[in-house]
Symmetry: C2
Subunit: 394 residues, 2 copies
């Protein structure tokens, strides 16, 4: 009764294929019969679409004997090594470029230093030989690269596609990063800021298997947030959704680079802590002083934890996530305080949800951004498999 | 090629019908040919589904002559008077119950006082005769009521369906309001807190025609928020998404009923202002003193505006909406400051978005909650027309 036009049919096909792929990802191993149950599609459609997915190499079959009679069942699994993804983390003073399979497992990773380089083209010159070499590795393995995911240290204006100027990242403001990368490397390019790629690392490869609503808070030179709601990254009307470093924590406080005053970032980021401490200019030095019991450093540390407690309570009350994940360059220094942070935040929440919220450490440590850049491409593949593969040279 | 099971077909049908209805709502008047263009459905499907929609009475045809040759075109419009919606606003000290058509136009409205009544059943006893009378009015017009939308003054735990205890609303904690109303009035019941219903009033009947991402902030006895993102109400993992009154604005400040300290609500709500002023115990008295230039009152007013400025900047940076809409019982006293608030908040935003954000007054004044309760049902109808109508006695 409901008939559809070809363009729409193609959309429906991609939608159904995405549905199947996501179910296979969720269940890790699933039979066609179970797919019929879970998707509502007919067994004919499931047969056709899984056949196509087998041909693309995105899934594979696996036989298991089940039950006492030893009957064989054919299960479907994601095939994680047929295609590769390259992830690029552009940091303020370093970069990391990784080749990973579809499960986010790193095949190879290269890090480099960019201290003092303010010209984006020069940074890309440094990255290029490593990236090309990873592409060659993928070709040698006969596993084409489906896309390049990129993590950048601050927000991008989604309406113009231009990079904004995050603190301590001079030279990049207004740089048309997407087109520059596409031209240079001939790959599908996907870009988000580091807080969002970090959130996606959790969504696809980390804690997100159990949590559909999560907030990632990254603390380092700046403080950023990435929000996944119902499994989808939220970006807002101007790409500024989740600028959690820029909540007003201290009315009347210091003016922030963003234009606001008293932002959490002005007191809670690495530069913010060092300004409040004024006992030195490295974060290692600060934590050394805290360990040695220096009174000014200890006082500053207590304030830092207090601001974190206030900020996380605010963020729980604004986003109501299942889990808040903490990461970034500052976080390794705070790990030992995690259970204290948990109990202090919970004490300030609505009583009925205290047992529901989880506050956890980021899963991938120093490589969170790079794994997230990979996850960004993986998410695109699972949402639009045909379109994402169409740009891949096989 | 893609074949579907009956249950799934029904889902697809409802999805397509919803798509058509929403396009008709968006465009106000649209031809079948335009619907084919906009939905991607075939003209056959559009013919069938619009025929069904005509039969339900949700849409109507309208002939227009277009162009110089005076050719007749048949346009489709939403039929707003074939069905009615009842909206109920349960406030802390009053209620309003309205009968409205599908366009949110009030046919009849009754307000009542509930001062001193702490028993929910007694409040419903007061509401019942008015609500029954509105149902009779609808029956007399041969316009069946498709649902009862309800606005309540504080959040509900979405996982248990129980009302939480908002400030100054004793006796309602844990009251199973949904089942009580369904049993009592025999209607489909839809419930959200007043900030969310207010946001929905804007989404469907107010500013939302132009803005798909909006934040409604309601200031009164408490401070609440309702967030619409990509046209959809966001509720969060526990129903606590958008508790904007409970952002930490003053670290070390007063303990709030929610468990947090220094919440915006503790200083920015009506009770919060009166506690800071300590020159009287009514908000009318406070604003009278401000107008008379009483120094303590003027000082307290300046602080109130400053807290509002800080809070709205935080909320822009967390939600990145197209528009922030201000309303609630306190807002009429603040209206004269709207342009000042606008420029103060914009001065604190990222420079590139200053011209994009809009801060506006609520559209429906004192009836915002009741109109929002109607809009809550209307939104359900547009998202799931078949399911919503299924429960309606025609």
């Amino acid at each position: 009764m409901t008939t559809l036009k070809p363009v729409y049919l193609q959309k429906v096909k991609q939608h159904n294929m995405a549905d199947i792929l996501q179910k296979i990802w969720e269940h890790e191993s699933i039979s066609r019969v179970e797919l019929v149950e879970l998707t509502g599609l007919t067994s004919g459609t499931i047969t056709n679409l899984t056949q196509e997915l087998l041909q693309t190499g995105l899934i594979r079959e696996s036989e298991t004997s089940s039950g006492s009679v030893g009957r064989k069942r054919v299960m479907l699994k994601l095939r994680t090594d047929r295609y590769m993804i390259i992830g690029l983390d552009i940091g303020r003073t370093s970069f990391e470029v990784v080749l990973a399979d579809l499960a986010g497992r790193m095949i190879k990773s290269v890090e480099g230093n960019t201290v003092g380089i303010r010209n984006p083209e020069q940074v890309l010159d440094l990255v290029a030989p490593h990236l090309e070499s990873l592409k060659t590795d993928a070709t040698d393995k006969k596993s084409p690269v489906i896309g390049l995911g990129v993590s950048i240290p601050g927000p991008m204006d989604k309406k113009t596609g231009k990079l904004l100027s995050p603190p301590n990242f001079p030279g990049w403001e207004g740089y048309p990063i997407q087109s520059a990368l596409e031209r240079r490397f001939g790959l599908n390019v996907f870009i988000e800021d580091d807080a969002r790629t970090s959130a996606l690392a959790e969504r696809w490869y980390g804690l997100g298997r159990k949590a559909q609503d999560l907030l990632f808070v990254t603390m380092g030179m700046g403080i950023g947030g990435g929000v996944v709601a119902k499994g989808e990254l939220v970006v807002g009307s101007n790409g500024l959704y989740g600028q959690v470093g820029h909540i007003t924590l201290l009315p009347g406080g210091e003016i922030c680079a963003c234009g606001n005053e008293g932002c959490w970032e002005t007191v809670g980021s690495i530069p913010g802590i060092l300004r409040r401490w004024s006992g030195g200019n490295t974060i290692d030095g600060f934590f050394q002083a805290v360990r040695e019991g220096d009174p000014a450093a200890v006082q500053c540390m207590q304030e830092t934890l207090y601001y974190l407690e206030c900020a996380l309570t605010t963020l729980f009350n604004t986003y109501d996530p299942d889990v808040i994940v903490l990461g970034g360059k500052l976080y390794p220094y705070l790990t030992m305080h995690l259970s204290e942070i948990r109990s202090r935040v919970k004490a300030r929440m609505y009583a009925f949800v205290r047992d529901r919220l989880h506050i956890e450490s980021a899963t991938f440590g120093a490589s969170q951004n790079a794994v997230g850049a990979v996850a960004l491409v993986f998410g695109a593949l699972l949402n639009e498999p045909l379109q994402t593969l169409a740009g891949t040279k096989t």
